[in-house]
Structures are given as structure tokens and as C-alpha cells.
Symmetry: C2
Subunit: 331 residues, 2 copies
């Protein structure tokens, strides 16, 4: 592949201070999203939970953080055709929005079954969208083919140090907003693992002793199996879930090298628990969280033994859901 | 009426510095709600709009601010029976929640047609709820009868200087978060007028030159008619609107004395525009705003000549809506 991943080699691993640096870069650009708590939610999960509401982030997901942190550092002379990205939706939308903000041309490769709202919003931002069939094609191969002529910077959703460091700023903000060392557990949604990896760096950046857990859909538990086996396992090709944002087929390599070292474990939940979590978040906080964004809350509901009275930060990672599915959740 | 309105006389008018004082009292207690902007919304209303999202406030409405600011100052020896409040819902819920927080007994008088979710949440906080028929009874009379034996502190939703000052902290936060004097218009939902009055004080507290506008349901436009006539006009007894939070029959006296002096005017919207505004807020920000909370955005959609390219802060004042009505808005 002749596509460059910005000006960095593929596998320079980010370090905790990169999160502090990213937080500085994102100040007054990203939304400092609120931390919300509800007595009813606490009772349901058996602990004290602060929900970091990244559905309110620009573009409706934490992905804006990594997109801005990486694209704002690009050497434009090395990518005259702009940025190429592949995404189940939220990363693509973030890349498209930052492209418009920074005046960088963007091409996004998205699955044809991504929520309509995500495809349309990327196009609204001026991005060129290339659709592919998730069941028969590989997004990496399509991105490589498009990029074969050179001139693009490829910014993948996980395998990029500045993306990982940017994603870590969500947990960094949350940890800094709470009393030092009051947070005993951090639980984040997990697709490719970029958010979990960035969160691990954030925990180290503030010298927190919190355990870091990842949450996955029950039948797309590649991270859980990968941590067990010590190698990057793959989901069944026909595995599906309402959590469209978390359908990456296998853990991304660079985040996995961090997650393998730092994660305490993985918890999962099924689709019906995810819908229930979406309803609880609607009722308690009057917010719209997409299925993948609700997986961490759902996993707490499904695994009541995890918290045991402890205090947790849980990231509600995104809110881009079609009205039909949201109505199904709250009906 | 032998009910005392906390330790203050009914009509001591609050001043701008009271908002600064309230903001200090609410720091680390109220949620510092985010300001959200969307290019699509800006295009729809013909200006730049920052939405102050008070639906994310504790209890789901800005009313928490005034309730906490007033109740945290109570002399408990003067109200051994606790606090008595009447409310279309959000004020009662806020008083109930603060009562639980500060360990003060609360009795709330609510209309029997208030959204079920609001009644239940007040009861969940341990408040005693007294229901009445909004069409045949007066909430003030019921509150007076209950309070006739003495021992209660009455905290009305509008006619209370500490409530008004507390409500002003929402606009105060928004104005302080934006560059000085960049805000040319502030537009707030208006029922009894407490939020508008507090907002006026906040504008003066930061020496802003912004115009202050109120937004009302089209057929409950008592504030608009009152500003025109110079006296507190009354809505038709059978006037109704989806905006249950804004159905106060007439402007409250103390806020009106401030609003009469400071408001630039009133804009209105009908129910179908309110539903449309709720859908736009769902689509652009993934949030749940109740009809009364969306009236200011709806009024901008209905009155495109108001902004004319100017920059505005608009308060989305609350999010307590039954799922059925929210589904109707986003379907």
C-alpha cells in the first residue's frame, strides 16, 4: 500500500503525554461534554456511575477528538489529495467534518448498510463517500486500492497514534473533573479498540489506579477472545448486532498492543439489553445514545457483579441513530 | 395567606449581583450545561445560534438552579414543615430533588394533567404531591389553604428573588463561555417569566448589550399581550398547548416588574412548529427537549426575521417529555 498514514509510521505507539498534548489541541474546539449521574441508574448497576456523554460531542461521537488531533497535524504537502478514511460511520463523519473545518479534501469508505443518517451527514460535510458491501468486501482493500495512486493520507479509525491519543481525551476530561483517585473503574465501548487504548493512556496520564474495562456486543466479542488467546481473533463473518459502530471484524493492531497490556477485562451485552440501556439513558438524562454508545451501560446492567459498589466512569460514546431504531428502544 | 416566602418579603426585587452570587452557590452542584451549535440549525433560523442545553440540568430543567439557590438559603427554624411549592411540573420536581439533597421536607401542588413522568419523579424524590384540576381550581388557592396553618416556606416558581437569580445563572454561564459582546440576542422560553427575568439580570451582570426576547406558545401569549398593555394579562381559561411547562395563566408579578423594563419583545410559535423544533434538536444534537423547552427554537423557525444574521444564545429549558409525545415529534 502506498498510502501514507499521515507523517508517521504505522506503529509508533502513543504515550500518556500524547493525551495531555491532544487535550490542549482540542481545547475550545471539541465540546467539553458533561458527566451525568442518576440515583436510579446507580441502583440498577450496583455502583456509582458517571456517564461521559460523548453523544453531545461534535458529529455526535467521540471520534471527532481523534480526527481533529490527527488531521490538525497533517503535513499537507505530503497528501495533496487530502485524507482517505474507512469507517462504520462515526469515524468517517468526524473525518469529513474536520476536513471541512480545516479545508482538507476527504474521501470516506463506508459500508452500504451503515445508518442512512451517517452517510448523509458525511456527504453534507462535503466528503466523497465510497460505499461497499461489508459482507463481501474488505474496507482495508478498498481503501488501499483507492490510495494506490498515492497522494492521500490514510487515517484509519484505530491504527494511528494521534487518533488513539485524541480518543483518550474523553476519559482524561472525566478523570480530571472528578476528585483524584475517586474513579475505580472506567468502562468504554469497544469496536477496534482505539477508545479503550486512548483511555488507558489517559488513566496513566493522570496517575489514576482505575481498572479499565471494555464493553462489546455479545456475539461480536473479538476483543474478549483476543485478550484470552493473546492474539487478534476475528468475529464470525455473519456476526451482527444493533451496535453498528462496533462491527469491526478484529481488534486494530496498534490499540491492541496497548489494550493487551492495560485492560482488566471485557464485559458484553446482548441487543435487548442494549435497547434497555438506551431507554434508561433517555429516561434519566433525556439524551439519545446509539446502540454502540450504550453498550457500556448495557454491559453493566448485564454484569451486576462488576461494580460491587465501586465508582465508575462510563463513556456513552455516540448518538447517531436512525429515528426508527430509537423509537423502538423507547417504546 | 400566612405562608412565608422563605425569609424574604414577597417583592424584594433581585439585582444583577444576585446572579453572580447564585452562580457561586451553584458551582459544583448544578451541571455546567454545554452550548451547542449546528450549521443546519443556523441556516434554518438565519443566524448563529448557541443552544444552552438545560434539558441536561439536574431534574431535566433549569428549574434546579432557582430551587437550589432559594432552598440552600432557608432558615429552617422558620419553616418546620419544610417547603411548599406549586408547579406545572419542572419546578416541583426541582424543589423535590433539592429537598432530598438538603434534607428538607417538600409538598408539591401539581395539576392532574401534568406529564406522568413529572409527577412520578417528584414522588420518587420523597415529595408529597397534591394534585388539582387546572381548569377548575387555582394552584395559588390550594397552596394557600395547605399553608394556612403556617410552618411552611412557600417557594413559588416565579415570585421569589432567589429563584429568579438562580434561573439567571443559565444565561450567565452561556454569556461567560462566549467572547465578550459576541451575543446580540438572548431568547428564552417564557411561562410565568422567571427565566426571562433572571436572564435580564444576567445580561446586566456581565455588561452585555444583548437584546432579551421571550418565546411563548401562540395561544398562551399572556406575556406578549401584557408587555403591550403594560398590565399582567390573562390567558383564555381553556387555552392549551403542547408546552405544558408554559401554561401559567398570567405573568408572575415580580418577574414582570423586571421583564417590563428589560425585554425587547416576545415571539411565538404554534404546536406543529414546536414539534418540528424538537425534531431538529434530536437530529442535530441527539437530545430530548420537551415542547416548552423547544419553544424558543420553534419561535426562531416561525420568525425568520428576528435574527437577520445575528448571533444568539437560545435556552432549551427542559427535557421532561413522555415517550409517546417525543415519538410523535421525531416520527
Amino acid at each position: 500500500m502506498t498510502v501514507q498514514t499521515s507523517e508517521l509510521a504505522d506503529f509508533i505507539s502513543p504515550v500518556p503525554s500524547d493525551v495531555i498534548d491532544a487535550a490542549g489541541r482540542l481545547r475550545n474546539v471539541a465540546i467539553h461534554t458533561p458527566l451525568l449521574q442518576s440515583d436510579r441508574l446507580d441502583a440498577l448497576v450496583g455502583g456509582t456511575v458517571f456517564v461521559k456523554l460523548e453523544s453531545l460531542q461534535r458529529t455526535g461521537a467521540f471520534k471527532f477528538r481523534g480526527a481533529y488531533n490527527s488531521m490538525s497535524r497533517l503535513d499537507r504537502s505530503r497528501c495533496p489529495l487530502g485524507v482517505l478514511a474507512y469507517s462504520t460511520g462515526n469515524h468517517g463523519q468526524a473525518i469529513a467534518t474536520v476536513g471541512k473545518l480545516l479545508n482538507i479534501p476527504v474521501t470516506v469508505v463506508m459500508p452500504s448498510d451503515a445508518p442512512h443518517v451517517k452517510v448523509e451527514k458525511a456527504r453534507d460535510q462535503g466528503a466523497k463517500v465510497v460505499l461497499y458491501d461489508r459482507k463481501t468486501e474488505s474496507r482495508e482493500a478498498i481503501a488501499a486500492r483507492l490510495g494506490a495512486s498515492g497522494g492521500y493520507a490514510l487515517i484509519p479509525p484505530g491504527d494511528h497514534p494521534h487518533v488513539i491519543a485524541g480518543q483518550g481525551t474523553a476519559a482524561f476530561e472525566a478523570l480530571n473533573a472528578l476528585p483524584a483517585n475517586s474513579t475505580q473503574v472506567i468502562l468504554v465501548p469497544c469496536g477496534g479498540g482505539g477508545l479503550a487504548a486512548g483511555t488507558s493512556l489517559a488513566v496513566d496520564a493522570v496517575n489514576s489506579t482505575a481498572e479499565i474495562w471494555a464493553a462489546e456486543p455479545e456475539n461480536c466479542d473479538d476483543m474478549r477472545r483476543s485478550l484470552e488467546s493473546g492474539a487478534r481473533e476475528v468475529n464470525q463473518p455473519n456476526a451482527t448486532s444493533l451496535c453498528d459502530a462496533l462491527l469491526a471484524p478484529t481488534p486494530a493492531a496498534l490499540p491492541f498492543s496497548i489494550n493487551q497490556r492495560r485492560l482488566s477485562g471485557v464485559v458484553t451485552a446482548d441487543d435487548s439489553t442494549v435497547l434497555n440501556a438506551m431507554r434508561v439513558l433517555f429516561e434519566e438524562f433525556r439524551v439519545v445514545v446509539e446502540p454502540g454508545g450504550a453498550i457500556a451501560i448495557a454491559s453493566l446492567l448485564a454484569n451486576p457483579s462488576l461494580l460491587r459498589g465501586r465508582q465508575a466512569v462510563v463513556i456513552a460514546s455516540g448518538g447517531n441513530v436512525d429515528p426508527e431504531l430509537f423509537i423502538r428502544a423507547i417504546s
